[in-house]
């Protein structure tokens, strides 16, 4: 499989891992009674993210952030692949994105400032570069 598509598949699997990293502690902290409920705000006393511990809330935000990044990255990978614009540069960008998004998770969970922002920036710049490479 082409490198960009491998990286895209791994990035999607990373999102499944991020879901587990967020959902397991959230269920342990709140109990399935709350997480399986319709999560009506008056009954819970707020949003789920506001009721969990500091670290779980960070993993929650990291998970949500990757959705946005993953949509853009999916477009970048598929446009590069379908437009036959794949090169060593776009492959490097794709793996750079994947590595940065893996490191983003502990950086968020453990509050590594400013490294979380640096890793986010690397993933963002890699996606931008792939989109620009697809157009030129």
């Amino acid at each position: 499989m082409q490198h960009e598509l491998t990286a895209l598949t791994l990035a999607a699997l990373l999102q499944a891992v991020q879901f587990a990293l967020m959902a397991v502690p959230a269920n342990l902290e709140l109990g399935p009674g709350k997480t399986m409920s319709p999560r009506d705000r008056p009954r819970l006393g707020g949003e789920l993210i506001d009721l969990v511990s500091l670290r779980t809330a960070r993993l929650f935000r990291a998970f949500n952030n990757h959705f946005e990044a993953l949509i853009l990255f999916t477009i970048a990978c598929l446009v590069v692949h379908l437009g036959d614009q794949s090169s060593a540069f776009t492959a490097l960008c794709a793996y750079g994105y994947l590595g940065a998004r893996v490191l983003y998770i502990p950086a968020y969970a453990f509050g590594w400032t400013p490294w979380r922002s640096v890793f986010w920036g690397v993933g963002f710049a890699a996606t931008c570069a792939m989109l620009v490479a697809a157009l030129i």
Partner: protein, 127 residues
């Protein structure tokens, strides 16, 4: 312009939206808060808050638009009509951003509708 280059261009438009929103947030909340783990929530106001809502809306639109284009390209069903609709989507979303940022009532909703209807029609043509 092909459907694929329109999709790549829309990705770049979303990136520009994000950069504008981030610039505004930096001014309102300070770089220190943005670099932190953001454990306490802060609210942004004015044009930056509008750009934030525009960004959220653009990401949802992107999640719907991208599969339609990719389906059409992968199944080789692109036509003059699909290219026209893709162009209409891109132009509508390019209008949507300043219409939201500057609070032009009516125009923002019109641009959103053109983009939404274009996306829906692309799915019909993909079938």
């Amino acid at each position: 312009m092909t459907e694929l280059s329109i999709l790549a261009s829309y990705g770049l438009l979303v990136i520009v939206t994000l950069l504008l929103q981030a610039t505004g947030s930096m001014q309102q909340l300070g770089i220190g808060y943005l670099l932190s783990s953001r454990d306490d929530s802060h609210t942004i106001t004015g044009m930056t808050a509008r750009l934030n809502r525009a960004l959220d809306n653009s990401v949802v639109a992107m999640a719907l638009f991208a599969p339609a284009i990719l389906l059409l390209v992968v199944t080789d069903s692109t036509t003059v009509q699909t290219l026209l609709l893709a162009k209409a989507f891109l132009i509508a979303r390019a209008v949507y951003l300043p219409a939201y940022a500057f609070g032009i009532i009516g125009l923002r909703s019109l641009a959103w509708t053109v983009g939404f209807v274009s996306t829906a029609l692309l799915y019909f043509l993909a079938l």
